[in-house]
């Protein structure tokens, strides 16, 4: 036993008696462990195979959620653009300027022409 304990063995020594029955038991135990290990390896392989598929599906759900969120944000942005367009409508602004603020057209002498702005050299569309 002391000799057995000093050795590093993968399979535990169940019984190392020199009797035939003991040897038989030990052989069965080793075989059982081998079966369990093989099964574990097969299971691990199967899990390894299934794992990316599960991940793809989980990511798919996440993408769908983000898509919906994105779509809602686009919708909101478009709504705000429309609202902005309505508020900045020149007819409305003129109406407010003339009606509420009592503004009038400038006399020709009141118009000052500013030098043209230097536009940055970027391609505008």
């Amino acid at each position: 036993m002391s000799q057995g304990a000093s050795r590093l063995e993968f399979f535990p020594r169940v019984q190392t008696v020199s009797t035939p029955a003991g040897r038989e038991k030990a052989r069965w135990a080793r075989e059982l462990w081998a079966i369990l290990l093989t099964t574990a390896i097969i299971l691990a392989g199967a899990l390894l195979y299934v794992w990316p598929h599960i991940q793809v599906i989980r990511m798919g759900y996440r993408v769908e959620r983000l898509n919906a969120e994105f779509s809602a944000l686009i919708q909101e942005e478009k709504q705000l653009t429309i609202r902005l367009g309505q508020l900045k409508s020149l007819g409305r602004i003129e109406e407010i300027a003339r009606g509420r603020l009592r503004m009038v057209d400038p006399e020709p002498s009141q118009i000052i022409f500013l030098p043209p702005e230097r536009k940055p050299k970027v391609q505008t569309f």
């Binding site: 035939p20 599906i57 798919g60 686009i74 653009t81 309505q86 118009i111 022409f113």
Partner: protein, 587 residues
Amino acid sequence: MRRESACSAIDSKAMRVRTLLLFLFLASFLVLLLLRLFDLQIRQHKLLTADAIRQQQRQIPVLPRRGSICDRNGKELAISLRSYSFFAHPSFVQGIARTSAKLSPILDLSYDSIYRKLQSRKRFIWIKRKVDPERTGDFLDLKLPGVFAVEEAKRYYPKQELASHVLGFVGLDDKGLEGLEFSYDSYLGRSPGPPLGYCDALGRVAFREAEADMTFENCDLILTIDEVIQYFAERALEKAVAKSQAKAGTIIVMDPQTGQILAMADRPTFNPNQYRNHPPAFWRNRAITDSYEPGSTFKVIMAAGVLEEGLLRPEDRIYCEMGGISLKGFFIKDYKKYGWLTFSQVLENSSNVGAIKAGTRLGKDRYFNYIRSFGFGAKTEIELPGEAQGILREPKDWSAISLGAISMGQEVSVTPIQLLTAFCTIANGGNLMRPYLIKGIRGPYGEILRETSPRIVHRTISPATASTLTDILEKVVEDGTGKNAAIPGYKVAGKTGTSQKLERSTGGYSHHKVVASFAGFVPAHAPRLAILVTIDEPKVGSWGGALAAPVFAEVAEEALHYLGMRPSEGNALAVGGKKVDAVAGLN
């Protein structure tokens, strides 16, 4: 010991048997599994794959978002939003009265109208289409049996009537029906077709095929229209049409150097958000679809031919018969009695007699060729649907008086866009430009798919002739019939026109119905803007110089200021009531 050994042997044997049995059981189970696996994976492979696809794969409803239409500065003129359309299967509705009462405030429809619809015996009815999404939340809370909502796109025109004739509108099915919405429907409203996705047992989309986004973005149109100039044009036209109580009016503002349309408007107009509230006649873009006899504005075409051929110089004198001339039995009169006028003065004073005499020198064929060369009698190929090409008969079909009549702008029919394009030819030094409205097309990811470049159709007259003609047209505004088009600080070149309309009942020219017009460009010798104004059948006033020329002046002045064009004369401007020279310090 022997007994122990015997017992151990028996145990071992029993265990072996048990293990063997277990092995056999597992092995047979495995064999069964393998057989089943073979059956499923190989024998029934095709059938089961098809079943699985049928169960998992679904067509995911994707709402294609129609592309926006923007002005040249990127301001949105048309934009699409998600909305909801409500429909019902009347046979499944429980409690029509209760359902109608609950839906009425949400859909902003009367109780009676909903009630009537739900009483229908049809299997499917629309209750209301394209409802703003804010209201849909209330509907979902109600959970009304037999009533459903489906997502649809809704088109908005935030600037209301602005540029409505250019933009057009879309129908309930989101297809363009008029204007650019119609002619560029393939870019704005492409539909990808329902893409495929894979759903789980609960019907949730697990993942979808590549590039099958939730929304399908289309291309945006970038127009040459400038929202601000468009507004100036529409406002001035609206005032003029109202003041003259005219039947209709048209204005086009164009960049004569490039052919870009900066503004295009018609009166009467319509709001494309509620186009069905307006009669279809209001939808028509008269600037391109309606042709009319241009009258005196057409004398410019005759003058261009005469000058180009060297038949007359501006200072050459023509006797104007003291107010009238007989032309093969027809007596043509002038507005005033003129004796001797220079060719330039013939245009300044818009003498019909002088125009007939000058045109006669040109002759039928040459005149016809110049008319064609200025683009009349053919479509300009502007990107709008329904463009008319006007009426221009072949010289062989001209009558004895046709040459004279066409010289003063009768017996020929033109569209406003054709006439302005012809004036642009003079303004830019003799090149006929193709007018265009689409500056570019922007893809769904902001990439530029197409950019339109100015296109010269051909050279029509020489730069020298164009310059001489511009000088004459300047005098029309300075001293002639177009004085009302003058803008302080800017040189304006233009020509008035007042043409009688044909009376269908008599077949002759009407004495009451006229088209008053003015076409011109500014600054005369370095033009940035070419503008045409027509006022159709005014009841108050009738002359182009009185009705259309002031509209030209108003729009041109505001647009020039907006474009930052400094006045070419009278630069001494006042700042704070004190006159300063050329706004010192700001140069």
